[in-house]
């Protein structure tokens, strides 16, 4: 299925579990263990979905997304967090966001990603139809 996914996870085991589960379901993903490069990663990979596992992240790690706020308005976020405070801090500026709490449930993550990408697919086809109608492509 089309659509790029970026994972931010400080815990390499959890990050790899998410990456492998996505891979098994046919999704490409980019795994990064810190948010310090968030801006350049998002600029270069232009993801449809960001998966943010907040386990072992410090509060300041979430601040990196503030500097990228202008890039996030078209990106859907899946946050793995146990507190609403963390979820609220992480999800500001994203197009949409959903929160999943522990235990790590790859089934729910995959469902979330599929849902986001299928709605993205229908948006894209609407955009393509419109571009065709307006002779823009």
């Amino acid at each position: 299925m089309a659509g790029s996914i970026v994972i931010f996870a400080a815990d390499p085991v959890r990050g790899n579990i998410i990456r492998k589960a996505l891979q098994q379901n046919g999704f490409d993903s980019l795994l990064n263990d810190q948010t310090v490069n968030a801006e350049s990663i998002i600029i270069h990979s232009v993801p449809n979905v960001v998966i943010l596992d907040t386990k072992d992240f410090l509060s300041k790690d979430l601040d990196f997304f503030k500097s990228t706020s202008h890039l996030l308005s078209e990106i859907a976020l899946i946050v793995l967090a146990d507190t609403l405070g963390v979820f609220a801090q992480a999800s500001t500026n994203f197009k949409s966001a959903q929160c999943l709490s522990d235990p790590l449930d790859t089934g729910l993550i995959i469902s979330g990603v599929k849902e986001i990408l299928s709605s993205r697919g229908s948006e894209d086809s609407l955009e393509d139809n419109l571009k065709g109608f307006l002779d823009l492509k």
Binding site: D28, L30, N32, H44
Partner: protein, 405 residues
């Protein structure tokens, strides 16, 4: 009409955003060194990854041709990836040979005798593997066990409790000599050699990274590109291809028991307990006054844990076996219950037992009985024995080597 205007405005915004992204892409350099990326689909890299995974799965399904290394046979010069199990009791090498896996095993033990011209001649005439060092003959491999029995003494080990022994002065030289009896330099420089390493012991201060580093350096010096694999994960890679590489692999070896809970081949939990077959041999040896080498022989030849013991040696063996199994299961319960890394696993997962210490008849049944006495946060579907318990780790290491080649 207003709708079309809205869409036009939206499209203009989109185009503007795309242009801004393109501009930022050019301006912002990206450090990709810290990324771990699933290769993008529908390109050459993806096909290569698919081929590697297929090759690894194919390797795990091959049948094994096994042999013990004698003095007459020369060591192998592998052409292709190699799996190496550097265990406390044995060093085992696995490599692909057509549609089969060739396994070569050597005993990881030595025995020293004083140097003399006469002894040398006898050793050479009898195809005994040995090397000379500081006025001693170091008899290595299977020959060492024969000599130990002859002298009613115990063999010595360069690896103790799963890690290079600090007790032996020449430990590194001996382990190098033993590995050297089963593999030589590869035919092609830089061939992948994947070797097994234990998990961090739950108790004690053993330093696994040091052990790993020394083996790695030696393999590098031989011309390999060495990588390591946790021993428990090697069991999963070898035996759980039909379970999506999800389950608990347990290697019950000579020096320790290694455990790995794997999810889709990701080692979620790995640990070891520094008790294994040697612990049982030593404890029984203390109980009954026989040498540990003799106890090991009795254990390997005739121990049956499904029937009542017939003498005091068997009684002692039964007791210490059960002690080991219960210690192992309670460790698993303690570690898994305390972990917050375990993902939600929809279906029950299997446990595979492997290693020489799991081989006596009834070990699996004892494990199942003991497992019923503890509550785990994950459901277990079955407990099964590895197809070839002595070769599973090296085969799993080979599967990993093939994936990385």
């Amino acid at each position: 009409m207003a709708d079309v205007e809205d869409y036009k405005s939206e499209i203009a915004k989109l185009k503007k955003r795309l242009a801004a992204i393109e501009k930022q892409k050019k301006e912002t350099p990206l450090d990709t060194s810290k990324f771990e990326k699933t290769p993008p689909s529908s390109n050459a890299t993806d096909k290569t990854t698919d081929r590697k995974i297929d090759a690894a799965i194919g390797t795990s399904q091959k049948t094994i041709v096994s042999m013990e290394r004698g003095a007459r046979e020369g060591a192998e010069r592998p052409s292709g990836p190699v799996g190496l199990d550097v265990g406390t009791s044995n060093v085992v090498m696995a490599q692909n040979r057509g549609d089969k896996i060739q396994i070569v095993r050597q005993l990881n033990a030595f025995f020293t005798i004083p140097q003399s011209k006469f002894t040398r001649k006898i050793l050479e005439q009898n195809d005994v593997m040995f090397f000379e060092l500081e006025g001693q003959y170091y008899i290595i491999g299977f020959s060492a066990e024969d000599f130990a029995n002859l002298f009613n003494a115990n063999t010595r080990r360069p690896v103790e409790m799963g890690l290079l022994s600090a007790k032996e002065n020449e430990g590194i030289k001996i382990i190098q000599a033993i590995i050297g009896t089963i593999i030589q330099k590869p035919k092609k420089f830089g061939e992948i050699a994947c070797f097994s390493i234990p998990g961090e012991p739950l108790e004690g201060t053993a330093f696994v990274a040091g052990h790993e580093s020394l083996i790695k350096k030696y393999l590098e010096s031989m011309g390999y590109s060495p990588i390591s694999i946790n021993e428990g994960l090697a069991i999963v890679m070898s035996e759980m291809v039909d379970d999506n590489f999800t389950g608990i692999g347990i290697s019950m070896g000579g020096g320790m028991c290694n455990v790995c809970l794997s999810y889709l081949s990701v080692p979620v939990i790995t640990f070891s307990i520094q008790r294994g077959g040697d612990y049982i041999d030593t404890m029984v040896s203390h109980d009954v006054g026989l040498s540990a080498t003799k106890v090991k022989g009795i254990k390997e030849e005739s121990l049956d844990l499904t029937v009542l013991p017939r003498n005091r040696i068997e009684t002692s063996l039964h007791m210490h076996y059960l002690d080991l199994v219960y210690t192992l299961i309670h460790s698993i319960q303690r570690v898994i219950s305390a972990s917050d890394r375990i993902p939600k696993i929809a279906a029950p997962i299997p446990i595979v037992l492997s290693g020489g210490t799991a081989m006596p008849k009834g070990c699996k049944e004892n494990f199942e009985t003991a497992l019923k006495t503890v509550r785990l946060p994950i459901e277990i579907s079955s407990v099964r024995m590895a197809k070839e318990p002595l070769n599973t780790t090296s085969k799993g290491a080979l599967v990993m080597a093939v994936t990385e080649a």
